[in-house]
């Protein structure tokens, strides 16, 4: 009922039967987009026996997937508007715990309620609401909620401020979205898929008579190398870029329309709290501060975005808006050290009218056979938490088209790194490196830490800690280039968090640039340029929220770069 009007524009079933021959083309499926949905489809389709090639214009997890709140949450926000989204999210959160347990970490939440007549009246409703949410918690091994007094809240999290009537606790799971993307991509690759990062699809060729998808033409954005690959099916999983991608096939962009919603996060230099704390912005939106890996993260905004998707940045206005909201319930955030911002664009289902937060977080597969382009599909909407389910639904459609008869296994087969448990203390002893470095390594790589450890054993250079903030070893940097498709320092940072700590890359960027340059055969000049542009982009994410300590650190960083590299780009003519 709710989505009926929608189906008129984006019907779910094709009008004419489309049954491509397998084997007559270079690949069966071309997936465009290396976000979580794209790599999820590539993995699932490969698991079901299809020949897949994936093209990503920038890098894996470049967009929304790598700039999300880093939660596989149960979608409690959508419980009243989209209960099916909540259920799907919870169920899939459980599946992701099965296939990638090493990537998940528990984030317990506290939601304080202010002592106002309105909140007082709401308290029983909130309690009842979370009682309803408790029904879904077992799906994701979550704990039921608890009703807390103000004293209990303050005992759990002494930094909570304000005149409170109490609050509730509930349970969520955190994840590194970029690692999730990399794990899916690597699994697909190891099972035979082709994954091309930094390669943009310029055109989707279609048969002039049938309109059927025939091939894609692509360009490697680094080398300029061009190519053509014949295929029966194209899956457009490009998130906010979706209309752009659709237009590459000659269809009008509105055939896969999204409502692009920019969301930013603030990153602080340490875990400021043990619990995530829910708060409200000046306009009443729900936001939070969460302990996330070794930092605290505040999120998020949701604003319609019309700018360049390849270059999304937080503004100082957005930073202050979030900080103001969180400071009301957790004032320590004002004096904490902000070390960076993330910005991404959600590919929300299109609707004209509702404000951003009220938009559905559901997802939909669009079959462009209805627009005269059989073989072309677009994945619209979705959430990090339900990526696997969305991918399964997409590949179910392909399974019907190719008459595969194979069942989805993406929720049963483990992702790379989850094959076995790692004995961290044994690993630490055998390597003789810092315990924190081992902990971070095994978090990111799970059982795949062992090949990295082997590389350290055979060449002790690999044990050297290049980025002391995270920390990241030389062996892990080389691994991310050789085996995880990192193409530059940003790619390494996305995979390892190198250079994203308080020093802003001062202690690691030059050396890491030389290591990546050696791996990728960069000239010394290019190495210096790449290092400079990496540091500059990071500096821009920090500049919007500079406080005294980080400003001092950034000035030191500039002096250091000036002394060691000089200007890293040519002066204007």
């Amino acid at each position: 009922m709710r989505h009926e009007w929608y189906k008129r524009f984006m019907p779910g079933t094709p009008r004419s039967p489309f049954s491509p021959q397998r084997g007559s083309q270079d690949v069966d499926v071309v997936v465009i987009g290396g976000g979580v949905n794209g790599v999820g489809v590539a993995r699932d389709a490969t698991l079901r026996g299809l020949k897949v090639a994936l093209f990503e214009r920038n890098d894996l997890a470049f967009g929304a997937s790598g700039n999300s709140s880093g939660m596989i949450h149960g979608g409690v926000r959508y419980l009243s508007s989209d209960p099916e989204v909540t259920e799907a999210s919870c169920r899939d959160s459980g599946h992701i715990q099965q296939i990638a347990p090493h990537l998940l970490f528990r984030i317990p939440f506290l939601m304080p309620l202010e002592n106002t007549p309105r909140q007082k009246a709401l308290f029983p409703l909130v309690d009842a609401f979370f009682t309803a949410y408790d029904d879904y918690q077992p799906l994701k091994r979550g704990k039921p909620h608890t009703r807390l007094t103000p004293e209990e809240l303050r005992a759990l999290e002494p930094g909570i401020s304000g005149d409170l009537i109490g609050g509730i606790s509930f349970d969520e799971w955190g994840i590194d979205g970029a690692r999730l993307c990399v794990a899916n991509a690597i699994d697909a690759k190891e099972r035979g898929a082709t994954i091309r990062v930094g390669t943009t699809v310029d055109r989707i060729e279609r048969d002039t008579h049938s309109g059927q998808v025939a091939a894609v033409r692509y360009t490697d954005r680094r080398t300029g190398e061009r190519g053509r690959l014949t295929t029966s099916v194209v899956v457009n999983a490009t998130g906010a870029w979706s209309p752009l991608t659709t237009s590459m096939s000659g269809l009008p962009p509105e055939r896969s329309r999204v409502r692009p919603g920019k969301g930013i996060h603030l990153v602080y230099d340490r875990r400021l709290s043990n619990y995530a704390i829910a708060g409200k912005t000046i306009d009443g939106r729900a936001i939070f501060i969460e302990p996330w890996q070794n930092m605290s993260v505040v999120g998020t905004t949701d604003d319609d975005y019309y700018g360049d998707l390849d270059n999304v940045r937080a503004t100082s206005e957005e930073v202050r808006y979030l900080e103001q909201g969180i400071a009301r319930v957790f004032p320590a955030v004002r004096s904490a050290r902000l070390i960076g911002t993330w910005a991404g664009v959600r590919p929300t289902l299109y609707a004209f009218g509702p404000n951003e937060d009220a938009l559905s977080r559901d997802h939909r597969v669009v079959d462009h056979a209805n627009h005269g382009a059989p073989g072309m599909y677009s994945m619209i909407g979705g959430k990090l938490a339900s990526y696997r389910l969305f991918s399964e639904e997409m590949v179910d459609v392909l399974s019907g088209v190719f008459k595969l008869g194979t069942r989805c296994q993406s929720h049963q087969l483990k992702l790379p790194g989850a094959e076995a448990d790692v004995n961290e203390s044994a690993l630490r002893e055998s390597l003789g490196i810092d315990a924190m470095a081992v902990r971070r390594l095994t978090y990111r790589h799970g059982a795949r830490s062992l090949p990295i450890a082997d590389a350290m054993q055979s060449d002790p250079r690999g044990k050297r800690i290049v980025c002391p903030c995270e920390p990241v070893t030389e062996a892990e940097i080389r691994h991310s280039v050789r085996h995880e498709l990192a193409q530059d320092l940003h790619g390494v940072a996305r995979r390892t968090r190198l250079g994203l700590g308080p020093c802003g890359g001062m202690r690691c960027a030059i050396r890491a640039g030389q290591i990546v340059g050696e791996e990728l055969g960069w000239s010394p000049k290019q190495t210096i340029q790449e290092t400079g542009s990496f540091l500059e982009k990071l500096a821009q994410t920090r500049a919007v929220g500079l406080g005294p300590a980080q400003a001092h650190q950034d000035a030191l960083l500039m002096a250091h770069v000036q002394s060691q590299l000089g200007h890293t780009k040519e002066p204007p003519a």
Partner: protein, 401 residues
């Protein structure tokens, strides 16, 4: 005799003390740490080495100071290696640094492998190979055994430099073993380990028959302690009073100034004050977003985003040196992000922010500013020295009238 107080003893403060002494003023220097001067790491520039523009020379007084400091030598066509893989020019440098342009054509420069953070001989050689070839030189990484004790893997560069200074014969023997393990070398490139108080470069070079020298490296390297040693020697030989203390208050008293530390309680009085306390990188100037520590919604006070590290009444600050920073149109302060990173022709605002003193180094009655503390200035040691000399000229005229 008029008494000039100088706050800060980096390159600007030291040059000011030297020149004020020469101009016949009584001088007291109060300082805490060498600040940005330690970041120069032995390379002395007047204009930023990487920015286009005509070459400049130091003034006569600046040149005299440089020589008296006895620590930097002036030379033409200097080429110094950086850890970032550049062979960069410099106006002058610490004689411990290896000058690549003085190497004979075709010479081989050996870089020993030393297991220390920030030292990767193989990566460094790979990065330096191309610029070295442009000078007709070759580079080669070689195994060496240069760490005597296990803790030397992780101690600071300056600590290692002090140990080498105490044990030069052992270092010489190890370097000899390294050099004789392959083709004969014209140069040997090391980290900043060639001594703190004195330079080991001449004796090692003579003993080994090849030029031994260092790379330019910043942050935590030996440059700070070396500069301090050279400075203390210079100021001591001139009999200039120098006190170490984190000044808590700067207060005007009549026509003069008082510097005060709280614990222990100390005071210095003078007829004039010269600020040489550095910019944001040194902590002499602080970028302070007004809504840091704000209340619920708004900042507690309406202050511009810049202030001195030590409160001084009546200072006008500037982000770029072009215009003063006033309250502006936003109570949340200046949008520094509009110039977040240095560009070839434009330094970042974090580098140029400081005291607004547009046309002369005077920023108040009997108050002068030099070095990075002055908005829109410096970024180089040479600029700091020149601006200090200019400020002292004004001070000497004002105080001796």
């Amino acid at each position: 005799m008029s008494h000039l107080l100088i706050l800060g003893a980096g390159a600007a403060g030291t040059a000011a003390a030297y020149h004020a002494h020469a101009r016949g003023l009584r001088v007291t220097v109060v300082h805490a740490a060498p600040g940005s001067t330690a970041l120069s790491s032995g390379a002395f520039d007047i204009r930023p080495w990487d920015s286009p523009g005509p070459a400049r020379a130091l003034s006569e007084s600046g040149q005299a100071f440089l020589e008296r400091l006895g620590y930097w030598r002036s030379a033409t066509n200097l080429r110094l290696a950086t850890l970032g893989g550049r062979l960069r020019p410099a106006y002058a440098c610490d004689p411990r640094l290896l000058n690549w342009s003085a190497m004979p054509q075709g010479a081989l420069i050996v870089v020993p492998r030393v297991n220390r953070p920030n030292w990767d001989a193989d990566l460094l050689c790979r990065a330096l190979a191309e610029p070295a070839a442009a000078l007709g030189l070759r580079v080669e990484a070689r195994d060496a055994n240069l760490l005597l004790k296990s803790d030397e893997v992780s101690i600071t560069d300056s600590e290692l430099a002090a140990r080498w200074e105490a044990n030069p014969d052992w270092v010489g023997a190890q370097l000899h073993a390294c050099l004789s393990s392959g083709a004969s070398a014209g140069g040997l490139l090391l980290g900043p380990w060639l001594g703190l108080q004195r330079s080991l470069a001449p004796e090692l070079s003579a003993g080994l028959g090849c030029s031994v020298g260092e790379v330019v490296c910043t942050i935590g390297s030996s440059a700070g302690p070396r500069f301090e040693a050279a400075r203390d020697q210079l100021l001591g030989s001139l009999g200039i009073a120098t006190d170490v203390g984190w000044v808590d208050a700067v207060v005007r008293e009549g026509n003069g100034w008082v510097l005060r530390t709280e614990s222990p309680h100390r005071e210095w009085r003078g007829d004039g004050l010269l600020l040489a306390c550095g910019g944001i990188a040194s902590g002499g100037v602080v970028f302070h977003r007004p809504d840091t520590n704000a209340g619920e919604d708004l900042p507690p006070t309406l202050e511009p985003s810049l202030r001195m590290g030590i409160a001084i009444e009546g200072m006008t600050m500037s982000l770029d040196g072009d215009r003063p920073l006033d309250l502006g149109g936003s109570i949340h302060g200046a949008d520094i992000e509009r110039h977040a990173w240095p560009q070839p022709y434009a330094p970042a605002l974090l580098q140029t922010a400081g005291v607004w003193a547009p046309n002369s180094p005077s920023c108040g009655e009997h108050l002068w500013v030099a070095g990075d503390a002055r908005a829109g200035r410096a970024r180089t040691t040479g600029e700091a020295v020149e601006s200090a000399i200019a400020a002292v000229e004004l001070a000497a005229r004002a105080l001796t009238q």
